[in-house]
């Protein structure tokens, strides 16, 4: 809830930021992992898939914790998640289309 929680005597509470920093370290670790993968693995569809999977995991943490969606009303969560699942399929489909264009190109 967005209402400000002041203690009854009007004093400001101490910051409660453990989860925020924990999420930050997770994001940093995932990005570092992506960098390592970028330089170690040879180019392949598996590498691409791995990148996309890790990026979706990062997106999950940013949306759920930083944007607080994980703590919102469930209906709103689905309003956001469902269209993005369709978008994910769209990405996959158009990458396959691109490959087909390449194969058919003279």
């Amino acid at each position: 809830m967005a209402d400000t929680h002041n203690a009854t005597n009007g004093e400001i509470q101490k910051p409660n930021t453990k989860i925020i920093w924990k999420t930050f370290w997770i994001l940093l670790a995932l990005t570092a992992l992506e960098f390592v993968i970028a330089f170690i693995l040879p180019p392949s569809m598996f590498k691409v898939g791995l990148f996309i999977f890790l990026t979706i995991v990062k997106a999950f943490y940013i949306v759920a914790e930083f944007m607080h969606l994980g703590h919102e009303v469930k209906f709103l969560v689905w309003c956001i998640i469902l269209p993005m699942i369709f978008v994910a399929w769209f990405i996959l489909a158009m990458m396959m289309e691109g490959g087909s264009v390449f194969d058919l190109r003279i």
Binding site: A2, Q13, T31, F35, M67, V73, L76, V101
Partner: protein
């Protein structure tokens, strides 16, 4: 979960009969921000999807393959000075045609050259002779051409103030770190807003604004370096005198670029430019909200939800960058 409008909201006349917390508890301001972000996500997804499709419709360079190439008088062209004096473009002839070499052949040729240099070194007697013998430089089995989609870590390998140093993807990693850090400081500002701590809100908003400006500055440098090009340039085939001629071009524009096909630069400018515009507007909005917070407007209402709504926009900008970074620089 109150569905009854507060006194303030009733005064403003936005009690629409359904209270003002639809969906069982989300306030209209936040809800509308979420739906705006969803629509913006569609726009960015459309751009990234087009990028994916165009990229996969081009050939990708594989150093383990051997490619037919026309070297004399242009063709798709190989700029022999590519990547500076460290690189030695290896070519092999089969009949009348010239081909690039596979990675294995590249390695074996370098090993032979190295062995020759070592033998000469062993035979040299005086110090003078030893110094005259040059150790062969290895370089890499890669060249940029209009035919192949560029490999991002070979294109984005520069850092400001270090001209000539090859540091693949380091600078973009720094940019990603800056943006994620500014997202963290934004969350801390929102959290301070929940506690009603005006001083902390101001502090964390300032850090977020600083991070935003740092990102914009870095992106401006990246664009400049991309447009100006590298020392070695790229090769382009042009028609002239009824023949194919070669030409070395430098930098990237909308009509031609040294790194690869034209669409690579086009998409780079459009997608990162669109994202950069969002960052700029986000920074401006953050400045306005910071000003409001420091004037005590939210403290008076005891309601820092505006900081949260603006925080959503800033996190969205960061989220889009995470995807742009993956699709452009890693895939």
């Amino acid at each position: 979960m109150a569905t009854v409008a507060t006194e303030d909201e009733k005064k403003k006349g936005i009690d629409w009969g359904g209270g003002n917390r639809p969906l069982g508890g989300v306030r209209y301001g936040k809800l509308m921000m979420w739906f705006f972000l969803l629509s913006d996500a569609f726009t960015f997804s459309a751009l990234l999807i087009s990028y994916g499709m165009i990229r996969f419709s081009h050939e990708a360079y594989n150093p383990n393959d051997s490619y037919y190439i026309e070297v004399t008088e242009g063709g798709y062209g190989i700029n022999k000075d590519q990547h500076g004096p460290d690189n030695v473009i290896e070519l092999t002839k089969r009949g009348d045609s010239t081909f690039t070499v596979t990675q294995k052949e590249f390695e074996s040729r370098y090993d032979k050259r190295l062995q020759l240099a070592k033998d000469k070194l062993a035979q040299a007697k005086t110090e003078e002779e030893k110094e005259k013998i040059e150790m062969p430089k290895k370089g890499e089995n890669y060249y940029s051409s209009q035919r192949y989609w560029p490999i991002p870590e070979k294109v984005f390998d520069a850092i400001p103030f270090f001209h000539g140093l090859k540091a693949p993807l380091v600078f973009v990693g720094i940019m990603t770190f800056i943006l994620i850090m500014s997202s963290v400081t934004m969350v801390l500002a929102v959290e301070a807003g929940h506690r009603g701590d005006q001083a902390d809100v101001e502090k964390w908003m300032l850090w977020t604004i600083l991070g935003g400006f740092a990102f914009l500055g870095s992106q401006a440098w990246e664009w400049t370096h991309f447009i100006v090009g590298t020392d070695y340039g790229g090769a382009l085939r042009v028609m002239g005198d009824g023949r194919n001629l070669g030409e070395t071009i430098y930098g990237a524009g909308l009509a031609e670029n040294q790194y690869g096909p034209v669409t690579f630069a086009n998409l780079f400018f459009f997608i990162t430019g669109f994202h950069g515009t969002h960052v700029l507007s986000g920074v401006i909005i953050n400045i306005i909200i910071f000003y409001n917070a420091s004037m005590g407007i939210y403290a008076r209402k005891n309601d820092y939800e505006m900081v949260e709504k603006v925080g959503l926009y800033w996190h969205f900008v960061d989220l889009v960058w995470v995807f742009v970074f993956t699709f452009f620089y890693l895939v």
